[in-house]
Every structure is written in structure tokens, then in C-alpha cells.
């Protein structure tokens, strides 16, 4: 195997690590189930016979202990919103200045770490499609955090296109680990047909959310297992360093099916760039719609273009297409995720 650059090496390492983690976590499912605490050691209620004896009552009073709560603080909401704002602003600057993707990867890495691991991948703007559908009907059920998380990326898309997809989305960042440099192109007709799937998912998600049946898009998300798992491990680490006890069950996040789906998604992601984003994500439809009417859209300067076709080959989401009649290349604002791969490969500086 010949490596073209160090980016390929990191991608190969990333793929191998992810496949090994998935396989290992799958194998965890066959471990014997952890001893469930059948009798919670918190307190025992005196039985009818015990009531006469004062010792039993005394011991009951001794054992009685109120439950402690650590509710989610409002600081996390502020942190989430601030984090998303900063990431979108930084992503906007990167897209504006056409910084090469191999140089702005720390941005998606931060996203993966913060929204994926520290916040457990929930709530993400992708899942908030269902929340916001409910919110439009019952606004009292939607928190500020969810509303802002849903609207901020759309506002960013309205200005500069799908910055969120490349910089702020934990699902996208997870799929980016698998690399895109070697991804296979899908022939035009199947690609067009598959691109219709997100519309169906969007309709089904909104319909089921209005019926109150389920969060359909979250059911389809194969990467949540990995996020919950990372979140569980982080919590376990925090508990261990603070001397607390953690149930061993926390390592067995998700069942065998969930891990098998994740493994399949990872395996597919090695051959196809961002399969979830392109063929499932309903939020991508909304972002794409707003990108089409964005104030600053990525376009090809026809005066500069020498029609070499390098950008078309490089584009991982197949957003660059050649017009058969005029022989000119054009960028689909709907599909483009603003990864800057085309602008960094163009020798004529023809992508604006």
C-alpha cells in the first residue's frame, strides 16, 4: 500500500482503531451480565413483626437517607450555545479564507470531543429536527438550548452555506475520521436516487414527532452508540478519580444490534464518504435548502477555470458537476459541505 500523504496515514490509523473498538465492544455483549443490585442497599422497611421492636425502628431511621440530586445546571446550556457559536464563527472564517481541510481539522476534532464525548452526542442539531417539530406545535416543551442549537446552523447556512456540516456536527466529524480522500464516487443515477432519501427521512421524522411516536432520526443515527459509550467512559473516569463507585454495566452501552449497526456504518464509511450525511440526514436537507439561497455561495470563476476537472474528482460529496452542453463546471450549493478540498486543489485559484 502506498501512502500519498500523512493524512492518509492518520485516516488509516483512525479506521483501524475504530473498527477494533467496534469489534471489541461487540464482543463485550457476550460477557456475563453484571450482577444487578436486586436489593438496593438504601433502606429496608420494617415489616409488621418488626414494628414492636424499637431496635428495628431505630435502625430504619438510621438507614433512611434522602437521595442526592445533581441536576443539569444552566451553565451547560450556556456552554453548548457558546461552543456552537464559536465553532460556527471559526468555521466561517476558515471557509471564507479557503483554509485547507488538512489544516482546519482541529475544529471538527473539538466538535467531536465536546458535543460527541463530553456532551454524549445528545442533543445535536440533527436530532433537534424532531424536537423542533414538536416545538412548533407545543413551544412550551422546547428549551432555549434546543431552539438555538437548531437555528444557529441554519443562520450560518443562510450566510455561507453548510459550515455546520464540516465544522460543527459531531456525526460528520466522526465520519470524517474515516477519511474521504479515497472514497469511491457513486454513479450519477444511484447518487441522485439516494439523495432523495433524506427528504423521506425528514417527512417521516416530522410526522412521527407530531404523532408523538418516536424520534425517528435518532433511531437511525448509528453513531450515537459510540458517543454514549465515550460519554459513559468519561463519566466512569470522573467517578473513579473522585472515589465514587460505578456500575460495570456502563461499559456495555448499547446492545449487540446497536454495535453491529455502528460497525456496518463504519465499514460503509471507509468506502463511501459520509454516508449518513448524504443519504440519511434530514437536517442536511434544511441546511442544503438554506445554502441554495445563501448570501455567499461557493462558485467557480468561469474566467479562471481551465476545465481540468481536478475539483470534480476531489469533491467528496460529488457537489461539483460538469454541464454536458456548455462543458462548464458548477457547484451544487445544496450538496456542498464547505470542506475546502476543491479550493485547495485548484491551481488556477478559480473557486470563489
Amino acid at each position: 500500500m502506498k501512502f500519498k500523504s500523512e493524512v492518509d496515514l492518520t485516516h488509516l490509523a483512525g479506521r483501524m482503531v475504530m473498527v477494533v473498538v467496534c469489534l471489541w465492544a461487540c464482543s463485550l455483549q457476550w460477557l456475563p451480565a453484571a450482577e444487578t443490585a436486586a436489593a438496593p442497599p438504601c433502606f429496608r422497611i420494617p415489616s409488621q413483626e418488626d414494628i414492636g421492636s424499637s431496635e428495628a425502628i431505630a435502625s430504619y431511621r438510621e438507614q433512611w437517607r434522602p437521595q442526592q440530586y445533581f441536576p443539569e445546571s444552566d451553565h451547560w446550556i450556556a456552554a453548548d450555545i457558546a461552543m456552537l457559536t464559536v465553532i460556527l464563527l471559526a468555521g466561517g472564517v476558515m471557509v471564507w479564507r479557503h483554509v485547507s481541510f488538512s489544516r482546519f481539522w482541529p475544529l471538527p476534532a473539538t466538535t467531536l470531543l465536546y458535543f460527541g464525548v463530553i456532551r454524549g452526542g445528545c442533543i445535536c442539531p440533527v436530532g433537534s429536527v424532531a424536537n423542533m417539530t414538536i416545538g412548533l406545535r407545543h413551544p412550551e416543551m422546547i428549551g432555549v438550548s434546543t431552539g438555538v442549537m437548531f437555528l444557529l446552523p441554519l443562520v450560518a447556512a443562510f450566510v455561507m452555506g453548510r459550515i455546520f456540516c464540516v465544522a460543527g456536527c459531531p456525526l460528520g466529524a466522526f465520519q470524517d475520521l474515516l477519511g474521504g480522500g479515497r472514497a469511491r464516487r457513486i454513479p450519477a443515477l444511484p447518487h441522485t436516487l439516494l439523495s432523495g432519501l433524506p427528504w423521506i427521512v425528514l417527512v417521516v421524522t416530522t410526522w412521527l414527532a407530531l404523532r408523538g411516536a418516536c424520534y425517528f432520526v435518532c433511531l437511525l443515527d448509528p453513531y450515537k452508540t459510540a458517543f454514549f459509550w465515550g460519554y459513559g467512559w468519561l463519566q466512569r473516569l470522573i467517578h473513579m478519580t473522585h472515589g465514587g463507585l460505578v456500575e460495570p454495566g456502563i461499559l456495555r452501552v448499547g446492545d449487540l444490534t446497536a454495535w453491529a449497526i455502528l460497525l456496518a456504518a463504519v465499514a460503509l464509511g471507509i468506502r463511501v464518504y459520509r454516508p449518513f450525511c448524504r443519504f440519511v440526514c434530514p437536517y442536511g436537507v434544511l441546511l442544503g435548502m438554506f445554502s441554495m439561497i445563501a448570501i455567499k455561495r461557493r462558485h467557480i470563476e468561469q474566467s479562471q477555470c481551465v476545465k481540468c476537472g481536478r475539483c470534480e474528482k476531489q469533491c467528496p460529496v460529488q457537489a461539483i458537476m460538469r454541464d454536458a452542453q456548455t462543458n462548464e463546471y458548477g457547484i451544487s450549493s445544496y450538496r456542498c459541505i464547505q470542506c475546502n478540498r476543491c479550493s485547495s486543489i485548484c491551481r488556477k485559484d478559480g473557486i470563489g
Binding site: I45, S47, Q67, E140, I142, V144, R211, M292
Partner: protein, 211 residues
């Protein structure tokens, strides 16, 4: 001409997009009324505790993703025998019934069980209800009611408080598999208000006891 038309369509699209964003933001951010929170169940399907299976182990208190839990204890006044098992210490015979309110030890760690005098007089009987704002579903009152009383208290999963997660965190840990995803009907008393005065004569349907 062609480019003019495209620019016009794009401008129209931008206006529509801006209106959509603004409208959504306005609807969501101005519609949230803290007093109106959880006015109704989210949809026809709800997570529900099957009271026949529930053993009131108390795991609902901590397992629910909501803090405090969407599970609440309720008291069915028609079954209640007005003992003090859920309120104060039944075994504490040194405290008179009338003095429990001031001197007795509460069963509920959050003081969520409310004792109201019903009949008047010194040794009248009292009604026991649960303050849903304080209840955390620890189940101590219901457990004592089931052991010492007439089993009038039980835990319900309030659909109006439930977020309707795809996979209920309580169902995942429930040792009795008592939490089920079921269809609820408009006539279900999802708030679990079992007031004596408001009870229908033929007996209302209870959550989890679908006929």
C-alpha cells in the same frame, strides 16, 4: 434577462428563508411559558408503569433522564383508609395522631405527602395527597402504603412530564419490566389526580389498568 430572473428568484428565496427562520425563532422563543410547561401529553403513545407489575423498588427516581423523575406517586382516595403509614411514622405510638404534623417524623424525605384535615374535629380523619412538585418518585410512601396500608398509593409515569425517549431509561433498569410503551386514551387521567370529590361514580380508569 436570464440572470435577472435567477437573481429575482434567489432574492425571493432569501426572503422566504429569512421569514422561515424568524418565524420559527419567534414561535419557539416567545411561546415558551414557564407556567404552561407540560400542559398535555406529547402524543398518543406514552411510557406507562403497569401497576400490576410494579413493586415500587424506587429505581424510577434515579433512572429517569429527567431530574426529578417523570414518575410521581399518587394516592387513590377511594382506596385510602386514612392511616398515617405514608405520612408519619405509624410505629411512633408516642406521638398522637393530631400531633404528627408538628412532632412526627416524615416518611417522605421531601415532605411531599400533604395531610389535610377532612372531617374537622379533634380526631377526624385526614386526606393524604402528594405534592407533585416535590415528589421525586422515591416510592417510600407508596411502599409503606402497600406494606402497611390499603395499597391506595402507587407510582405513575406522567405522560405530560415524560420526554418520550426512544428507549426509556427506566424501562432499561426496571427489574419487573413494568414500564411499557402503550397507547393512552384521552379519557385517561394522566395527571393522576385521585380527588375524592371528583371521582366518577362508576370508577375512573387508572393508568396502567387498561380494561
Amino acid at each position: 434577462m436570464n440572470s435577472d430572473r435567477r437573481r429575482f428568484i434567489r432574492f425571493g428565496g432569501q426572503l422566504v428563508g429569512a421569514a422561515a427562520l424568524g418565524g420559527t425563532a419567534w414561535r419557539v422563543f416567545t411561546g415558551s411559558d414557564p407556567e404552561a410547561v407540560f400542559s398535555q401529553p406529547r402524543g398518543p403513545y406514552v411510557w406507562r408503569i403497569n401497576t400490576d407489575k410494579c413493586t415500587i423498588c424506587g429505581l424510577c427516581e434515579t433512572a429517569c433522564v429527567r431530574k426529578p423523575s417523570a414518575v410521581k406517586a399518587v394516592n387513590d382516595q377511594k382506596k385510602c383508609s386514612y392511616c398515617v403509614a405514608c405520612y408519619g411514622h405509624l410505629a411512633d405510638l408516642h406521638v398522637l395522631s393530631a400531633m404528627i404534623q408538628s412532632k412526627g417524623v416524615r416518611v417522605c424525605p421531601y415532605d411531599a405527602v400533604i395531610r389535610r384535615e377532612h372531617s374537622g374535629g379533634e380526631d377526624g380523619y385526614h386526606l393524604y395527597t402528594i405534592d407533585e412538585a416535590k415528589c421525586t418518585a422515591c416510592g417510600k410512601c407508596a411502599k409503606r402504603c402497600n406494606q402497611l396500608g390499603t395499597k391506595s398509593m402507587f407510582l405513575i409515569l406522567r405522560p405530560d412530564l415524560c420526554l418520550g425517549c426512544n428507549r426509556c431509561a427506566i424501562a432499561a433498569v426496571c427489574p419487573e419490566n413494568a414500564v411499557e410503551w402503550a397507547h393512552s386514551y384521552p379519557e385517561d387521567d394522566f395527571r393522576g389526580i385521585y380527588e375524592l370529590e371528583n371521582q366518577p361514580v362508576d370508577g375512573g380508569r387508572q393508568p396502567g389498568m387498561e380494561s
